[in-house]
Subunit: 156 residues, 2 copies
DNA sequence: ATATTAAAAGACAATTAAGTCTTAAATAGG
DNA sequence: CCTATTTAAGACTTAATTGTCTTTTAATAT
């Protein structure tokens, strides 16, 4: 699996927040996000803490509290979310985990992998939350079994 | 992590077998492989059973027994090893694990990911054991802390 | 102040991946 | 036939990931 579940959930939650951003909503309770996306509230909380630690989101306690993106969805790239949760081993490490592989000595797959992993990196690096959210809206993406992006953005 | 450890170990063992093939050795004891590569014998045994189940290797019990590649290293592509151990979810599944994503409804990353995952697939699909082994020999690849490909092929 | 809301922190449980150990089955050689 | 060698099969342990639950801390509103 390319991304951990934690990372995937973090991305989905970020997408939800991007949709909320279009509605000018600021702090959204984690409970609302977890209910909407059908994710474990506590597990999501821990994941979002990683995103706030990485300054991608900020949080506010108490009534009217919740989480919010710190920047506009257009300015947040997917790679930032991936790196915050899964780290950037995917973009730096040897595919074969070979002891000799690295800067100096390359493994037999090194060159091909360097190329491929750059393609992966570019994919995450060139995709913003805004782009995903608008695509999701156009294509009526399902964020959970009961919730679609279109519901989310065109309603309310 | 792109590949599981089991898959990585399976690839390393296959590389070792490719090197043995150049020396016209047929059945090589798993114990020799695990010792040489500094891997757990029993764990490696289970991994190799997956490769024999996939007809990439064959095994022989008893004295003079061991494992052997069923085809020439030139004819065995890396993707076969990956598929035998990790399956081909990497080449078929949605990156975001989104419920709506698939043939009909695509997720916001679908097009980019379809392209990227094809790059990954092509990488594994176009690399043979022979190619890796000869590159490994040229570059004196280390298969473990104490063993290099060059030792392996030029010696004995 | 007090009660309520909501995130933070951390203990705990379940699941999966990774690794170990024991026993059984097959084969070669004496 | 007997023993040594080697894979096969499966139970078991450990570690990492995933997921749940409880308590604490901070903010709001009354």
């Amino acid at each position: 699996m390319l991304l951990s579940k934690a990372c995937i959930y973090g991305i989905r939650a970020s997408l939800y927040m991007a949709a909320m951003h279009e509605q000018k909503r600021q702090f959204v309770p984690i409970r609302e996000v977890s209910d909407s996306l059908d994710l474990s509230f506590h597990f999501l909380t821990k994941i979002l803490q990683q995103l706030t630690a990485a300054k991608l989101m900020e949080s506010y306690k108490g009534p009217k509290g919740g989480i919010a993106l710190t920047r506009k969805p257009k300015e947040i790239m997917l790679i930032e979310i991936v790196a915050a949760i899964d780290g950037n081993g995917l973009f730096t490490e040897c595919v074969l985990g070979l002891p000799g592989c690295g800067h100096k000595k390359a493994c037999p797959l090194h060159d091909k992998w360097a190329y491929t992993r750059e393609a992966i990196q570019i994919m995450f690096n060139s995709t913003s939350l805004e782009e995903m959210a608008s695509k999701g809206k156009r294509m009526n993406l399902r964020l959970s079994d009961t919730l679609s992006m279109e519901d989310l953005i065109t309603s309310s």
